[in-house]
């Protein structure tokens, strides 16, 4: 099994006494498309900045390509092999599209001219226009172009779909998938948009309060998480203590709804043992998993 491309253990970071990261453990497998989900302020951008060497952690360690992200010279080597799209999508306003491509290309000997020409056309980017005259969506796609065209092994994207209309989002997702299929590029992206993550990610991590609360392969998560709806024969007076895995239990009259994160078998047995119970089982979407965890905190 290949080493993970990104690996963090017990990552700690605080700003002015506020904990941004509280022991984050991440493991991004090589060649995967990894969705990094979390509410605003949960620690996504802080994590990304730590991986890029822009911030230094207060504790724990972070490795990219097996190299220590906190070491200055290793960090330069890391950045040579990865492409990055920042949250702000701020580029150099005084440069034109053409100029910034030329500028960025000078740092990456493995630049793919065919890719940058392709994306210029695909995303409709006017080469001679000044970046300050571009819309946010166009700056997003330009940043993506710069990140993908240099033949990176890893793409770190912070909210890549920000500012893009649905057609452009689909185009972007298609290009990401194409580059993953063709080159085996690992893609690590943070997003608010569950649908995009569900569409192309094979692994996800939900971060909240600076720690990973849900992590794993998306297929596994969808298999493990089930929503159970139980209708009882009569209203129960006492509250039931459900077995481990029953994450969120809502009881109203004779209806009980449970979000199970694992152990569905045991929970089903327990449910069926209740007097007059009829049980229904539904699959759970990523958004529901996210909302349940977000609501709880």
């Amino acid at each position: 099994m290949a080493d993970p491309v990104i690996e963090t253990r017990g990552l700690l970071k605080s700003f002015k006494g506020l904990n941004a990261l509280n022991g984050l453990n991440l493991s991004v497998p090589a060649g995967s498309i990894f969705g990094f989900l979390g509410r605003n302020g949960a620690g996504k951008t802080t994590t990304i900045k730590l991986l890029m060497g822009i911030l230094k952690p207060d504790g724990g360690n972070a490795r990219v390509f097996g190299l220590t992200a906190t070491d200055a010279s290793a960090s330069v080597e890391i950045r040579r092999r990865l492409g990055f799209v920042s949250e702000e999508k701020d580029l150099y306003p005084y440069m034109t599209v053409e100029q910034i491509i030329r500028f960025t290309r000078s740092f990456f000997p493995k630049w793919r001219d065919d890719l940058d020409r392709r994306y210029l056309k695909l995303f409709d980017l006017p080469p001679k226009r000044k970046i300050s005259d571009l819309s946010k969506g166009m700056r997003s796609t330009l940043m993506l172009l710069l990140g993908i065209s240099h033949g990176a092994e890893l793409l770190i994207l912070d909210e890549p779909a920000d500012g893009l209309d649905p057609v452009a989002v689909e185009d972007m997702l298609r290009e990401l998938v194409a580059i993953a299929a063709a080159e085996g590029t690992t893609i690590f992206f943070s997003s608010h948009h569950m649908e995009e993550v569900e569409q192309i990610a094979d692994h996800v991590c939900i971060i909240d309060g600076g720690a990973a609360i849900v992590t794993g392969s998306l297929d596994d998560l969808k298999a493990r998480y089930q929503r159970l709806r139980i209708v009882l024969g009569e209203e129960l007076q006492a509250t039931i203590h459900w077995v481990d895995g029953a994450e969120h239990v809502r009881q109203e009259g004779r209806s009980v709804e449970i979000l199970a994160s694992r152990n569905v078998d045991a929970i089903l047995n327990q449910a069926r043992s209740l007097p007059g119970a009829s049980v229904e089982c539904f699959p759970v979407t990523l958004k529901e998993i996210f909302m349940e965890h977000a609501r709880r905190n």
Partner: protein
């Protein structure tokens, strides 16, 4: 080849893809010996994760439905002809079960819900067991 996937449905995408390929075989859209798109092409066309396509193809191979010929691609297995016979038998079973449910006075919607529920319970149990042993 037109497949429609719903990433938000809660059903793993690789399973959906497997379902759709199997359905295509059952309806005759895909026949024994036909070639499936390459992993790269399918993932681009459907805008889905290539690893997911890989998983679907491997599971289908495991079930004997397709064959992965190294270097040339994925092909529908010759043995699906035999599958068609099983499908016809199964269809007969479902038809007679439905007739009996209708004679009990159930509506089509009620019958559908019953089937879906039993299947969902079955799937949940299989996954749960798989998780315990795996």
């Amino acid at each position: 080849m037109i497949f429609r996937l719903n990433p938000s449905s809660g059903v793993p995408i690789y399973l959906q893809l497997m379902e759709q390929i199997k359905h295509s075989i059952e309806t005759g859209a895909l026949r024994a010996g036909d070639q499936l798109p390459t992993i790269r092409k399918l993932s681009e066309d459907l805008v889905m994760n290539p690893n997911t396509v890989v998983r679907a193809y491997h599971e289908l191979q495991h079930e004997g439905i397709i064959e992965l010929k190294h270097g040339s691609g994925a092909f529908i297995s010759e043995s699906v002809a035999g599958q068609a016979r099983v499908t016809r038998k199964a269809q007969a079973i479902v038809q007679s079960a439905l007739e009996r449910l209708m004679s009990l006075g159930l509506t089509k919607d009620e019958a559908r819900r019953l089937f879906e529920n039993e299947l969902a319970l079955l799937r949940a149990e299989t996954n749960s067991e798989g998780g315990k042993n795996g």
